[in-house]
């Protein structure tokens, strides 16, 4: 699996401001990768370009061994006319039925499956939304702040679960939590502040599979690299 952004330039319609100016980066292999950067650096824009939801940029995004890319963000909602369990069941492909229950239990939302989306807490909403994407067919899932409003412990548990349950899939996780991405991600694309060249830098994360494997010194080193890059 590989995604490569080659010489990407993009400016928002009817503005002179470049979000990306000759951006290059490459992510290789399945696993949990991250897209990091300060607010307004274009993380969501790049994610939508990779997902094919945004066009009008120059340059090329090429991928190999990736045919289905899904993009999800934390502002998504379920329709309000039925409970989330019913809605999830109606959009679960045959191949994902067994996995649905496992995900619901792993994400800790089994007690609210009959509730309407509007009745859930923000964290429950984000988890429910993520589950319905995870049970779809995909090669790369882009998670744009998908675990926002979920407590740190649960977030860590969910990420480790994803890495265990989907060893062959690729994830691109967008988060502002530097420690989290440094700990769990394999490769981290850092979108740098304006004026810095090159505009993006790829850093290797600790890619932990268990919290116990954490070596503080190594984590600090990775975080330092991210800070320097950004």
């Amino acid at each position: 699996m590989q995604i490569e952004c080659l010489d990407i330039s993009y400016q928002y319609p009817q503005t002179d401001i470049y979000v990306f100016d000759h951006l290059n980066c490459r992510l290789t292999g399945p696993g949990f990768h991250a897209l990091f950067g300060q607010s307004g650096m274009g993380k969501t824009t790049l994610a939508r370009m990779i997902a094919g939801e945004l066009t009008g940029y120059s340059g090329l995004i090429q991928s190999s061994e990736i045919s289905k890319v899904l993009y999800t963000h934390n502002m998504e909602r379920f329709p309000g006319w039925a409970g989330i369990g019913e809605l999830m069941a109606s959009t679960t492909p045959a191949s994902g039925r067994d996995r649905l229950n496992a995900m619901v239990n792993a994400f800790g939302i089994q007690s609210v499956m009959n509730a309407r989306f509007s009745q859930l807490s923000l964290g429950q909403k984000n988890r429910a939304n993520l589950i319905r994407y995870l049970i779809q067919e995909f090669d790369l899932l882009i998670m744009d702040e998908s675990l926002a409003n979920v407590d740190e412990t649960t977030r860590g548990r969910i990420i480790i679960n994803l890495k265990t349950l989907y060893p062959e899939k690729s994830f691109l996780y967008i988060s502002h939590n530097m420690m989290e991405i440094a700990k769990f991600c394999k490769q981290i694309v850092v979108l740098r502040s304006p004026g810095k060249h090159p505009p993006a830098q790829v850093i290797s994360g600790r890619n932990l599979m268990r919290e116990d494997d954490l070596v503080i010194k190594e984590l600090e080193q990775t975080m330092l690299e991210i800070v320097h890059a950004s």
Partner: protein, 255 residues
């Protein structure tokens, strides 16, 4: 709801009557121009039963016309909702046609198909259809990205689901627009009867106008107000029931 609406109407109506009588006595106008309270009361008692039947006759035409308008507005709104050439043509056509006062077009309908039931119904439909269409098409062509994104990304989106999502998300607006359309349907029917009919309360008003009988017109206005209030209250009640059913939860979440 009904109690408050009728109370408000009766208050406004009697304030109007009071203003008329004030003008009458201040300017010393004759009973021929503005009848006395006693004459208004006597006329009311004489024509009340006949006018009630006329108002009911008008109301059922208005209701049928309103329902046809709603069905048509949703049909055209669904067809015209995509941001396609056809969609924009429908929107432009609806805006342009709405610019013509239907009251001015009504005599053409009368000339073409004569007076009677069809003319009344057609004019009622035309008067409430275009505002309804513009609102419905506006609501149905506005994407609800936060909900639709998943279905688009997973290639599950179809026109029925899209309409369902957009209608559900804007249910209060739709109910308000439909209830507002009810008033226009009543007005449309009365206008049609005034121009081209031999039945209904609009026809009764025209007859009273030819007789210069303000008492009859005032009685008709009173009954029209009550009839319209009843219809609007019924519409709002149905709207509330639909809304409550749609938003009611199946279970209480354990947070």
């Amino acid at each position: 709801m009904l109690h408050r609406r009728i109370q408000q109407f009766v208050l406004v109506y009697f304030l109007g009557i009071l203003a008329l009588l004030l003008v009458k006595y201040l300017l010393n106008l004759s009973d021929y121009v503005i009848p006395s309270p006693v004459e208004i009361w006597q006329t009311c008692r004489t024509v009340f039963a006949r006018y009630v039947i006329s108002v009911l006759d008008t109301l059922w035409i208005a209701i049928v016309g309103h329902m046809i308008s709603i069905a048509l507005a949703f049909l055209v709104g669904i067809v015209g909702r995509p941001n396609s050439w056809f969609g924009s043509l429908i929107k432009a056509a609806a805006y342009n046609i709405q610019a013509y006062p239907i009251v001015a077009v009504a005599p053409i309908i009368f000339i073409l198909i004569g007076d009677g039931l069809i003319t009344r119904l057609l004019i009622a439909v035309l008067i409430c259809y275009f505002p309804l269409l513009l609102s419905v098409i506006g609501i149905l062509s506005e994407p609800v990205d936060s909900i639709e994104h998943f279905y688009v990304a997973t290639k599950r989106m179809n026109w029925r689901l899209q309409v369902r999502i957009r209608a559900y998300e804007n249910i209060s607006k739709l109910i308000t627009v439909i209830a507002g359309g009810g008033t226009m349907a009543v007005v449309g029917t009365i206008v049609a009867e005034f121009i081209a009919a031999d039945a209904g309360i609009g026809y009764s008003i025209r007859t009273a106008l030819y007789q210069s009988d303000l008492s009859k017109i005032l009685t008709a206005l009173f009954l029209i107000g009550i009839g319209t209030s009843l219809y609007l209250t019924a519409l709002e009640w149905v709207g509330n029931v639909i809304q409550k059913r749609l938003v009611s939860s199946k279970a209480t979440p354990d947070k």
